[in-house]
Symmetry: C2
């Protein structure tokens, strides 16, 4: 039976990425060796890092005064690296969910943190608006897509201070004006690569202002200066990322991805709104994520949740259980998820409705 | 032509690991999904982490009061994590090479570091002995195998203070008395897995003594408490590590590995000592690494270095160029390197000698 992969992350990757990676595990770039067992300093792998960095810049139209690096440690390590590199006297954060909270916790170890707004009062079911970013903050941090709660800031905001964005789960889902950001970072395991590699886009002039103890591996400059090769980078995840970047370019880039993502999310949201058994947890369409679509059973139908989960599983739907903080269901519709999978989920919802009304 | 993989790291892995990983990239544990795109919280992947942790403990005979965790960030991140978790007032380090120096540099950011001995006076060509470990140090740090220089501490030393060892390049190469160590860590990309995962073995009672700012991701307790799943771990590298651990067990474990490693290194060292064109850079046999065997052209034959490199390359030898700090050649003879490859290198050295004498 065809499986439909709705995992929130690590999540579906293009079949192209999977096939090319499987090939390289057996014979990498004609070396006769596996990509799992080649030196990161071999000319064949240096070419992989170089092309991945170049395509990353090209696809997101990154200005020349920015660097792109690939690191280990996940976005969770970035929660500490950002203040290690930028925090001088005060930072500002927008609190839109669990990952924002974790980022705020790390920053607080460095000093004063101004949480300019929070949607925690309504279980993070909306994106706060109308807040004021303090002009004396060293930086302002946002989480653009909230994987757990299904909200997303789908536009590039204006900030009077350097803007830092965790884009772990929506990078490459839409065109960006990178010039509005000082740092964009994320774990790659949603729209880009298997788990194990973290990307960071850094405006070079933002660095060098802190005076506190800065461990070598947590210093962005270490990795910029050595072009992601200060130490042994996560070779296989970077190789796979390159395949996805090539696929993205071949698909027409982030403009085309955004069109398809809007279409896919629209199809599913329409069905959730129409279907008498389901309702969306995010009421304001403007705040709804294009990547993670959360829904629960309608009032009076809560007892059918387990039955729907089992029915959907029997139809090949994988990873649709909602996060425990929200309950219900979550369909993650990342770049690599085909329209066909969205339609299969919709058909499953409709069939379940017919059987249960 | 058959390739012989002598890379220093990332380096040769068992064919079993490569084949099982290639299979799982196409269909992981019968899920119909790639191991690159499954949730780290799926029951199939949780089983991988559990079995890898269990086999790690079994193969190294790790006592019950120790934890094993799998992290990202490489051994270079451990250079900072060790003092972050253990440094209270003073640390002691043994300086046996480039990696020791990098570890010392990070510790110095925390306060007084006593470098008890160093072999830098002779380009790290021996292991210092007869030094005194200060009893007031919070811990004593060693690098057991010096990949660049080809020296190795092949026994478990006694330390009056908690012993911390970077075993990036010799873990699983011999039986260990883990009870003599407080922490053993390493990048996995030599004897265990592809690059991207770091292992740490920690005696639980060593933690919780520092009072300084300890970022969440740099706190060993974070990862111990969540059994390596605090954040998304490097899924594919951990999957591959499990395959190598299964292979290791099937081969007879670390006792058997050590016998084969002694045999392989002996064959090659004998040829280096015998061959009129080559000489070992490490004179004292006791200090010679079983993992990285360094040799240069003998006096008067320095001009043949490039010719030998080209000749060996033409015979399928890969990765034998010595590190720039040493020059000449380095043959890395990790667990997965077959005896056949050592014999092929020896035959190449003998043929080159015949052609050039």
């Amino acid at each position: 039976m065809k499986k439909h992969n709705f995992y929130a992350g690590p999540s579906i990757l293009p079949q192209y990425t999977i096939n090319k990676t499987a090939e390289a595990i057996l014979n990498f770039a004609g070396t006769g060796l596996s990509v799992l067992e080649v030196s990161h300093r071999s000319k064949e792998f240096v070419a992989v890092v170089d092309e991945a960095t170049q395509l990353f810049k090209e696809l997101l139209n990154i200005p020349d005064n920015y660097s792109v690096v690939f690191l280990g440690g996940g976005a969770s390590t970035q929660f500490a690296m950002v203040p290690f590199n930028l925090f001088v006297k005060k930072a500002a954060y927008l609190n839109t969910g669990e990952w924002s909270k974790k980022a705020i916790k790390e920053a607080k170890m460095f000093g004063e943190v101004d949480v300019v707004a929070s949607s925690e009062d309504k279980n993070f079911s909306y994106i706060p608006k109308g807040y004021t970013i303090p002009e004396d903050a060293d930086y302002f941090h946002i989480t653009t897509n909230n994987t757990i709660f299904g909200t997303e800031i789908k536009y590039d905001i204006d900030s009077p201070v350097p803007l830092v964005a965790d884009m772990s789960s929506d990078i490459f889902s839409r065109p960006l004006d990178v010039s509005k950001y000082a740092i964009i970072y994320g774990g790659a395991q949603k729209n880009l690569a298997p788990a194990g590699v973290t990307f960071v886009i850094i405006r070079n002039d933002i660095l060098g202002k802190v005076t506190h103890h800065l461990p070598t591996m947590l210093n962005y400059k270490t990795h910029i200066d050595k072009e992601s090769m200060f130490n042994t980078p996560p070779v296989l995840p970077i190789f796979a990322a390159l395949q996805t970047l090539r696929w993205l370019k071949d698909q027409g880039g982030v403009e085309e991805m955004n069109k398809i993502n809007v279409y896919k999310a629209g199809l599913l949201c329409n069905e959730i709104d129409r279907n008498s058994l389901f309702e969306a947890t995010i009421k304001d369409e403007e705040d709804r994520s294009l990547m993670n679509i959360c829904f629960v059973m309608t009032k009076g139908n809560e007892d059918k949740e387990k039955a729907f989960f089992e029915f959907a599983t029997s139809k090949g739907m994988i990873g649709i259980k909602g996060h425990r903080s929200v309950g219900g269901f979550r369909a993650s519709t990342y770049n690599a998820l085909p329209v066909e999978s969205v339609k299969a989920l919709i058909a499953t919802m409709q069939e379940f409705e017919q059987q249960n009304s």
